[in-house]
């Protein structure tokens, strides 16, 4: 290679080509995407994705700051791209619209733990198991999920009686006699965020599977 200028221009061209292709063009393609206004079977209209509650938005900050994304993804792959749906991690694949309200997006790239894109849905109407945040092993034997005791307060039971939201902990995880473990605000916010994780909403680009197994798109 003799000419520095030729080399320099070549490098610049290669850089800008991938920049246009992988940054600018996707931006053009995805920026028109907006909240979806749909009608369900009962004839009621709905907006998707809904804004999260203030508490859940705060909880998302906790999730972010603790780096839960290191072990948990939040994306369901289509039927022909993995077995996520078969595992029960979601009813339909995740699509770009699911993430419109999230910044920074936490898609994740490692699954040491289960996918959480629809964790709230799996919980159903059950209350969030706060003990799982205090110590996952109190709920699941041998879990390597991260214990978060610093989001809880271990305190002497007040004279007015035990707190209503004290955790029910058994065996090795129980606080000492006369003590109780109560969640701090951050723990409640995080729980609220995790509960808000649900995506099973019918979208034109991602229909929910009906009776037949035609869920791929």
């Amino acid at each position: 290679m003799k000419h520095g200028a030729v080399l320099f221009c070549g490098i610049l061209t290669a850089f800008s080509a991938s920049w246009w292709g992988m940054v600018a063009y996707p931006q053009r393609q995805l920026s028109p995407l907006t909240t979806y206004l749909g009608t369900n079977d009962a004839g009621n209209t709905y907006l998707y994705p809904n804004a999260r509650s203030g508490e859940a938005v705060q909880g998302r900050q906790v999730y972010l700051s603790l780096g839960c994304v290191a072990c948990h993804t939040q994306q369901v792959r289509p039927v022909d791209g993995g077995n996520d749906i078969a595992r029960g991690w979601g009813r339909r694949r995740s699509v770009a619209r699911d993430y419109l309200n999230d910044s920074p997006v936490q898609l994740g790239e490692s699954r040491l733990g289960p996918d959480l894109a629809n964790y709230g849905e799996r919980l159903g109407t059950n209350a969030f198991p706060l003990a799982r945040l205090f110590n996952p092993r109190a709920v699941v034997t041998n879990s390597v999920c991260q214990p978060l005791p610093f989001l809880f307060e271990n305190r002497v039971i007040r004279s007015s009686g035990p707190s209503a939201d004290a955790l029910v902990l058994k065996g090795a995880y129980a606080p000492g006699a006369g003590h109780e473990v109560v969640p701090t605000l951050a723990a409640v916010q995080l729980a609220s965020y995790l509960k808000s994780l649900q995506t099973s909403v019918e979208l034109p680009e991602a229909p929910l599977p009906v009776v037949t197994e035609e869920a791929s798109k």
Binding site: G67, R77, A96, S103
Partner: protein
Amino acid sequence: MSSGTTASVRGEPYEVRSGGPVLFLLASGLLWLLVGLTLTLLTGIKLQFPAFGSEFAFLSYGRLQSAAGCALVYGFAAQVGLGLSLWLLARLGGRALPGGGLAGIAAASWNVALSIGIPGIVAGQGTGLRWLELPRESVPLLFLSYLVLAILGARLLFQRSTSRISTGQAYILVALFWFPWIFSTAQVALVFLPVRGVLQAIIAGWYAQALFLGWLSSLALGVLYVLLPELSGRVSPYSRHAGFGFWSWLVLTGWTSGSALVGGPVPAWIPTLAVASGVLLLIPTVLISLSLHSGSRLRALFSSPALFLATVSGISFTVWGVLTALTSFRCAREVLQFTQFFVGLNQLGLFGFVAFAFFAGIYVAVPRLLGVKWKYPILSVLHVAGSVAGVGLAVASLLLGGWLQGWALHDGVDSVTVVRHLQPWLCLNFLGILLFLGSQFALLLQLLAAVVYFLLPLGQPVVAWVLAPTSTSGTKSS
């Protein structure tokens, strides 16, 4: 290059005059390597014993992992890579590093930015985007310091005394400008004026791929293209393919990022394009590997730590490139996506390829800059053997363990069982990283010895003066 007295190992005057900032970058890079590996070990402990340090938010697995990654990439690889690049550009261009103390100031402020940023991640101020976790406060300083060093490097290249630009210089030029390009794009689009939704994931993926395949690889290939022929005394019979290898590498690397998004919530063309460019990536991988191939005899390899490391690095490059290409296929991603396989592949690239190329560079550069030969061959042997064995063990265990993890996940095994079966492999990985970390102390000792021997002549007049104060004038000439 013959071995001999102190005087004959010293490099050319323009090299030696560039020595200060270069040595500073190399040394501080090595210290960040220790930090990064220690943090990696802590994450390994957390995966076996989640209760370890669980009282403290700053020992969260995710935070430690982010901090480790940033320390290794921005602390170690960036600094050693930049230091070696500046040295090579000065040496090949026959010019001393311009800018007076500017390079030293930039190198120091790079370290200041990291010393703010990495504790920031551990304290929970990370951005939550992979490889971009450094808190935004530390970013402007980091960026400025890099620009200064890159511009000084480019000046060395464009004011060179030779007319030809070698392949090594071309790779270094790519590296110098690739980083500010991708880093500024990613910071603006993701941190300062964030775009919406999955577009963030697309840009973050582009950044991560460009960071490793584009920037760090170019730094390491630059070092290998200069050092391998020099150390082995042989030119590859395929060296004429280097040019096409270079251009095809340059064109393709920016397009492969979508493979991390196969099956993800992104427009379908992104992963499709990634599969296509990932397969094409085999072409530059083969061409570059052939044109680097020195054909050294085994005996020659074992007689020089630098040649041995550079050769291992070249082999790692080939394996890494081929695996990166093969795993961009959908069928591979279906099983391996989200597993430790890619953590292992990353360690192969970052340690086996990039770090080993840099170590080889350090073994050649430091004696020339200080004018002091390496004093203790046994330390080099320990360092090289420990590093190669450690990285080999670490990478192999994660590639294999991740493969098994992928099939277990694919077969619907529950998360707790998957992790329990993965843990022995994670433990082997831990031991490999531990060995890798331990052997770095041999290199540091060796460096320390070299610096002491370098400083000794300066001390001589003082010693002489203390011993016989009346005859100082006679010792001046040393």
